[in-house]
Amino acid sequence: MKKEMNYSPQHLAYLQGVKKKTAWVNAARFAILLLLLTLWELSARFEWINPFITSSPSRMLACIGDLYKNGTLFYHVGTTLWETLAGFFLAVGLGYGIALLLWWSETFRRISEPYFVVLNALPKIALGPLIIIWFGTGSKAIVFMTILIGLIVAILNMLGGFMETDENKILLLKSMGASKLQILTKLVIPSSLPNFISMLKINVGMAWIGSIMGEYIVSKAGIGYLIVYGGQVFKLDLVMSAVFILCILAAVMYAAVALLERLVIKNRK
C-alpha cells in the first residue's frame, strides 16, 4: 500500500520528533562506545590499569595488524566462520526436518519425548572426548559439536511453533477437504514462520557457542584457538583481539537474520 503524502502539520511534526529521537539514540550509542574505548586507551596509556593484563584498543589494533601481515588473520577467521556456518545450517536444517516428522506423527512424538528432554538437559561439552575420538581433531569435530549444541534447541523450538497452529484454521482446512500434507504446506509451515525466525536467532548464538567451545576442546586453528593459545602464552592482546573479532562476526550474523526477518515477516499482526 502506498502511504498518503498529505499529512497534517501536526503529524509531520510528530514524524520529525520520532526521527530526531532515533538519531539521538544512535548518537548516544556511538558516543558511549567511543567514551569507553577512549577511557580504556587512556587508562592503559597512563598505566592506571595494567595494559599487560587488560590490553588496550591500540594494542588490539596492532595485534590484528600483525595477524593480517603474517597472513593468518583470514585463515583463523575463515576456519571459525566456516565451522560456525556449517554447524548452523546443518543444525537448523536437520532440526526443522525432525520437528516436521515429530509434528506429523503423534506416536513418534510421544515415544521420543523423554529422549529429547534428556538430550536437551545434557551439557553437550561432556561429549567432548567422544567427539575427538570419533571425528578426530579437525574441523569435522567442531562442526559436529556445533550441530549437537544447536540441534535440540532447533527441534524443540520448531516443534513448539508447529504445535501452536490455530486449531480453528486446521478445522477450516479440513472442512475444505484438505489432506495432512496440505495442512502442513498451506498452514503449519507459513504460520510458524515467526517461530522459524526466532529459532534462527537463538541458533546464531548456539552456533557460536558450539564452534568456539569446540575449538577450546580441540583445534589447530580458528578464533577459539587464538583465544586459548593467547591465554596459555599470556598474550592477552591476542585474546582481546580475538574476542573483538568474534563480537563483530556474531553481530553481523545476527543482523543478517534480522534483515531476513524484515523481508519475510510483513503484514502479520
Binding site: 500500500m1 490455530d166 480453528n168 484454521k169 478445522l171 477450516l172 482446512l173 479440513k174 472442512s175 475444505m176 477437504g177 484438505a178 496440505q182 498451506k186 498452514l187 507459513p190 504460520s191 514462520l193 503484514n267 502479520r268 499482526k269
Partner: protein
Amino acid sequence: MKEVLRFENVCMHYHSKQGETVALENVNFFVNEGEFVAIIGPSGCGKTTLLSLAAGLLTPTKGRVLTAGGSFGYMLQKDELFPWRTIEKNIFLPLEIKRTNTSETRARALALAEKYGLGQFLKNYPSSLSGGMRQRAALIRTLSVNPDVLLLDEPFSALDYQTRLSVCDDVYKIIREEKKTALLITHDISEAISVADRIFVLSRRPARVVSEHDILFPEAEPLKRRENKEFSRWFEILWKELNT
C-alpha cells in the same frame, strides 16, 4: 422438496482421559434444499459438534447423518483469514485445496468478490480490513468453490453489536442471492429469528432437539424482520424454550 441433510437419531460421545462426554443424544432434524435453517442452543451444548458431524469431519457414535451428496462450505465464528495471504489469495485457498485452481474457477471467485464489494481490497492483507469486511471475505472464500450447503457456526458472534446486525443482513442477502441452502448454528435467539425459515431448538448438553418452528415473515431481510411485531413474540417463545 428435496432434502439435502438429515440427522437420524444421532448420538455423539467424546472420549478423553478425563472421561466420556455425551455431546449429542438422539438428535433428529433435516434441511431442505434452498432453505435457511437455524439451530439454537445454549453455549456448550454441542452445536459445533453437530456442524462437524454434518460436514463429515466426525462420525456419529450412533445414528446416521444422511446427505444428498452435495458439497458443504464451512464458516466459522472468526473469519480465520490467513494473515500472510492477501484477500484474493485467501479467497483462492479452497480452490487450491480442492485442486480446482484454474483460471476459470479463479475468475468465478473474483467475480463474486467484485459483486459483493471486495474488489478494492483484493490485494490487501486481512489486517487492513474491518471486522465486517473480513467476515464478508470469509463468506466469499466459502462460496468460491460453489458449495451446495453452507454451514455457519456462530459466524457473527465475534463482531460488535452494530457490525453484527449489518454483517448478518449482508450475509443473508448474499446467501439468498446465490440461492444457497444454509444451516446456521447460534446461541443468539434474535439472530436466528431474523434469518431463518425454520428453527430447531436444542436442549442443554447432551443436546436433543426440543422443538421445531416454521418462521414466517412478510419481509425476508433480517433488519426488516427485527422491526416486525412478530419478532418479539417469537423471541419470547424461543427464550422460554431455551431456558427450561
